[in-house]
Amino acid sequence: MKTLFLKDMRYRQARVVLTTLGITMLISLILLLGGIMNGMRIQARQYVASTGADIWISAEGSGGAFIGFSMVVEEYMAFLNSWQGLVPDSASPLVFAQARPTVHGKSTKAIVVGYKLGQLGGPKQVIANEGRMFTPSNFEDYRPEDPVPYEVVVDEKMSLEIGEQITLGNEKVKVVGKAKSRMFVLDTPLIFMDVRIAQKLLLGNTPHVNMMIAKTNKNEQPVRIAADLDALETIEARTLKQTLGDIIAYYVDEPMKAVQFLRVMLWLVAGNLVGMITYVTMLEKTQEIGVLKAIGGSDNYVMGLLLKQVVLISVVGVVLGLILSYLFAAAAPIFVAINFVESIIVAGISFVVCCGSGYLAARKAIAVDPMIAFRGEI
């Protein structure tokens, strides 16, 4: 009778369904937390990678372009334009700052990116038919009292239309175009503008920038050039790879340590849940197990019956959890990117954890003395 274990499960339907749902929800939570972190990692990378810069230069002691507070005086960086190994004139000033623009009367989060149009650091053009780039200011002979056009290009995902105004600091700026979305960590949209306006709005109109970025020549090793520049007294220099590593460590991995811990805890909870429910069910079945043994069922026979139930519940719970996590991810209010390979690994581990704890409970249950069959209700 291959379906014996199914009949038993049908008899205890409510419990089976609840256990399965419990596993389903825990697995999807574990996967969603992973998806959130993965989404953060993707977003932490995408802007930086999109700039095309190979070398990231920040102030000495800042710990990296996106890590500590970094201000460099752009004029002093002129030497970069002829630095051996860098593409001539590729060095670009960059303001990258958290800001709270007022959009449609509401204060929202965003990151202001101030760069030199045509240089590294921001889009060269807007999305087709979505406005135009901002008007560049006079960069080279700029004087603080010069007027600048208050124009910005916004991330397409910001619900803003061409021609609308947003408030940044005390100034109103006009949206003139939309750029392809490159949201930063936790769905933070980017607002692109001329570096001079960024200085005016955010840096007290001083000739500072947060960092300089540059391209290396094709045949050069970025690691070597970064090391040469890093040796200079006033600046730190890092490669794209190091910078990406820094950003992920600083914006994702460090703050998400607690979440990682939580994920492990959830696994323990899932294992415990299956073990506990299996164990309680087994306690209730002690008499039945004793009778099966008394009428000649071997330990393996009884174990088979119990394990089939544990495995079926675990498989269904895990698979439903997988499906549910993808549905949740699609519906989530923030960017969640569940990595397929990771989800398979998580599902595998969860399956092993659930089956393992079910097995332990079952092993305890089959130790019952078949003499119990001669006694009354226990």
Binding site: R12, A294, I295, P370
Partner: protein, 224 residues
């Protein structure tokens, strides 16, 4: 005549130290093929312990056991195999699996013995018909009366064509009409299958059905 079950010097103790109970004390017992034996005695005298020893559910602390002429080695043998191949059990409280129908409850015994499902279903049908439950194949235990449940138990006990069936107080939870019916059934089953049966009972009224009565007192067999 050949002995189906033969125990020599069987002893079983429970507990330790001052609390030790010798439940079965150096018992010699032979049950011949085809016999209907009744084991009687006061509550706590060791009847259940004795049939558990004879049915290979318990292992003796001392003594030897032969079933169907073969000596049993409780240390090196898998007793569960002996239990499902050679022995049938009927319990006072029936102990049918609540989630299975009458038919499936009989089939489980054969599933344990690795009988193919269709063969098991055929035999279960035949046995349930024999015990008069033709109309109850697909009823769950909760939908059966005590007498009907005990009939299913007997059908289950006979499923693997055992050498002997042990029944522990099979009528204790039945009313007198149901227990008379059950005794009639037992006689009928003996005629049909020539099964050897050992019944533990309190009911003096059942005595007349027995070929032989074994009296127990304080773990020993006594002559009446």
């Amino acid at each position: 005549m050949a002995a189906v079950v033969e125990g020599t010097g069987l002893t079983k103790r429970f507990g330790a130290g001052d609390a030790t109970v010798v439940a079965v004390d150096s018992v010699n017992i032979r049950i011949e093929a085809g016999e209907l034996v009744m084991i009687m005695g006061d509550s706590g005298c060791g009847k259940t312990t004795l049939i558990s020893l004879l049915g290979c559910i318990l292992t003796p602390d001392a003594g030897e056991l032969r079933i169907d002429g073969e000596p049993i080695d409780p240390v090196n043998e898998d007793l569960s195999v002996i239990r499902h191949e050679k022995i049938g059990f009927v319990f006072q409280l029936f102990h049918l699996l609540p989630y299975l129908t009458a038919l499936e409850n009989v089939m489980v015994a054969m599933d344990i013995a690795s009988t193919k499902t269709d063969a098991a279903e055929r035999r279960a049908t035949e046995l349930l018909t024999q015990v008069g439950l033709r109309e109850r194949f697909h009823h769950r235990p909760a939908q059966l009366s005590g007498g009907e449940k005990q009939r299913v138990s007997f059908a289950r006990a006979l499923a693997n064509r055992p050498k002997i069936v042990f029944a522990d107080e099979p009528t204790a939870n039945l009313d007198s009409r149901q227990s008379d019916n059950l005794m009639n059934l037992i006689q009928e089953l003996r005629r049909e299958y020539q099964t050897t049966i050992a019944i533990v009972t309190h009911h003096e009224g059942l005595k007349e059905n027995a070929d032989r009565i074994i009296h127990m007192k304080d773990g020993r067999i006594v002559t009446a």
